[in-house]
């Protein structure tokens, strides 16, 4: 499949998962175990050897923008965080050579916790932003990161299935 078309499908799948999660959130993932279903797609693109960095960043941008649009967050919040997440995953993928389910889960857990923290820090600057206690926020972040890490291998596999070219290193 052509890379650009694969990216569009990945964005649509991420978008569909976001909608499904928002509609059935009570059943599928009760608080605080709400996974960030968009992030594993971004990490999968970041660590895939066959995805050009420009395409991966643009896809992360699009997924983040849809998150902002549909979650009612300040415009740019998830767009920024998802693009940053993509570059971080790309860097990790560049520095580390091993792959596999354990890698996908650990990477997702660590990066989701960090990026979730970044989202909360940015929200802290919002006028009248949330004033959560540190303990509550930490529990929510780690629970969300844990839930995201659990589903990450499936979403990584979805990206590989949609875009098989992503696994092939450029010659």
């Amino acid at each position: 499949m052509h890379g650009g078309r694969g990216s569009i499908i990945i964005v649509l799948v991420a978008f569909a998962m976001l909608l499904t999660q928002s509609v059935f959130s009570r059943v599928l993932a009760p608080y605080p175990f709400s996974p960030y279903l968009g992030l594993p797609f971004v990490f999968a693109l970041g660590t895939a050897p066959g995805v050009r960095i420009l395409r991966g960043a643009a896809t992360a941008f699009a997924i983040g923008y849809l998150y902002d649009l549909f979650t009612g967050n300040p415009l740019g919040l998830h767009t920024f965080v998802f693009v940053v997440g993509y570059f971080t995953a790309w860097l990790v993928g560049y520095l580390l050579s091993f792959r596999g389910i354990a890698f996908e889960m650990v990477l997702t857990f660590v990066l989701t916790a960090l990026l979730g923290g970044l989202v909360e820090v940015i929200r802290g600057f919002t006028p009248g932003g949330m004033a959560w206690s540190g303990v509550t926020m930490t529990i929510a972040l780690f629970a969300s990161a844990f839930a995201t890490a659990l589903v990450a291998p499936i979403l990584f596999a979805v990206v590989r299935w949609i875009d098989p070219e992503s696994e092939r290193a450029p010659t």
């Binding site: 909608l19 928002s22 509609v23 059935f24 960095i53 420009l54 960043a57 643009a58 992360a60 941008f61 983040g64 923008y65 649009l69 549909f70 300040p74 415009l75 740019g76 919040l77 767009t79 920024f80 693009v83 940053v84 570059f87 940015i122 600057f125 919002t126 006028p127």
Partner: protein, 282 residues
């Protein structure tokens, strides 16, 4: 990849990070403190954002409506099941209430009857092709000390008598059966006579034959057991005179009696188990 492409890609990548950061910065600022750059950004992005949000709202509302409808369907199923259960319970309660009323009536009747009685439940009804009850069976029999000939009464009056007993059950000979004969007194004038069932399959009727042709009786008069022969206690209501045949000549006067008991609605009856004493109950 040549040098210019590398520069272009780097610029795009930088833009992908910087653009959301700028928008984010503008969105996080207090609206009263916006700079000219922030205002320009909003001017440019406003229409795009408006269209995007309009589309997003549309998609979200469609999906939420669908989820809502799914919930409504679930709620409907639940409510329907709940409704069925409550209807069933209400039916059972209605039946229980009806039975309690019948038992209360029978209890009152038992107290009024100066004789020993036994309550029995109707467990079978023989129905004619025209949906009339032609025979009934009750759930008391030989083991309860019943024997043929014992009178059977209900709240409405005389039902009949035990025809035969077998084990735990007994058949009742109804007053409307052609084999049934009961000595009676009629109306204020205490005209004497006897009734026998007509055995008609389409209606509940008995034939009444008065002892004297000149007895003063009229349609609507109450018909009671006479107590003659000690088979039935005296003064148990049997029914009402519904017809008197014009008979200018002859020894007897005849007519028809409509039983006071509604045989179709019989659920509980009283069986008079001891011989009749002095009864002016009904």
């Amino acid at each position: 990849m040549n040098y210019f492409q590398t520069i272009r890609d780097a610029a795009i990548l930088l833009a992908l990070v910087i653009i959301p950061a700028i928008f984010l910065r503008a969105n996080l600022r207090d609206p009263s403190e916006l700079s000219w750059l922030d205002r320009a950004l909003f001017q440019v992005s406003g229409p795009v954002q408006y269209v995007a949000e309009w589309a997003a709202d549309g998609v979200t509302s469609v999906i939420e409506d669908y989820a809502y409808l799914v919930d409504v369907k679930g709620d409907n199923d639940h409510l329907r099941a709940e409704n069925d259960r409550l209807r069933r319970e209400m039916r059972v309660l209605r039946d229980d209430t009806k039975r309690v009323h019948e038992l209360e009536s029978l209890l009152g009747l038992r107290e009024r009857l100066a004789t020993e009685t036994m309550t029995a439940r109707v467990i079978a009804k023989g129905i004619s092709p025209s949906f009339r009850v032609v025979r009934i069976a009750v759930d008391q029999g030989e083991h309860a000390g019943l024997h043929a000939g014992m009178p059977v009464v209900a709240n409405g009056g005389l039902v009949g008598q035990i025809r035969r007993v077998s084990g735990r059950f007994a058949d009742v000979l109804l007053t409307i059966d052609p084999e049934s004969r009961v000595d009676v007194v009629v109306g204020e004038g205490r005209a004497r006579g006897r009734i026998e069932g007509l055995g008609e399959r389409g209606r509940y009727r008995c034939r009444i034959q008065f002892d004297r042709a000149d007895d003063q009786v009229s349609v609507g008069d109450e018909v009671f057991t006479s107590g003659l022969g000690k088979k039935f206690p005296a003064s148990i209501l049997i029914g009402y005179v519904s017809k008197i045949n014009d008979q200018e000549f002859g020894l007897y006067q005849e007519g028809e009696v409509t039983p006071s008991v509604d045989f179709t609605r019989l659920d509980e009856v009283l069986i008079l188990t001891s011989g009749p004493k002095d009864s002016d109950a009904l």
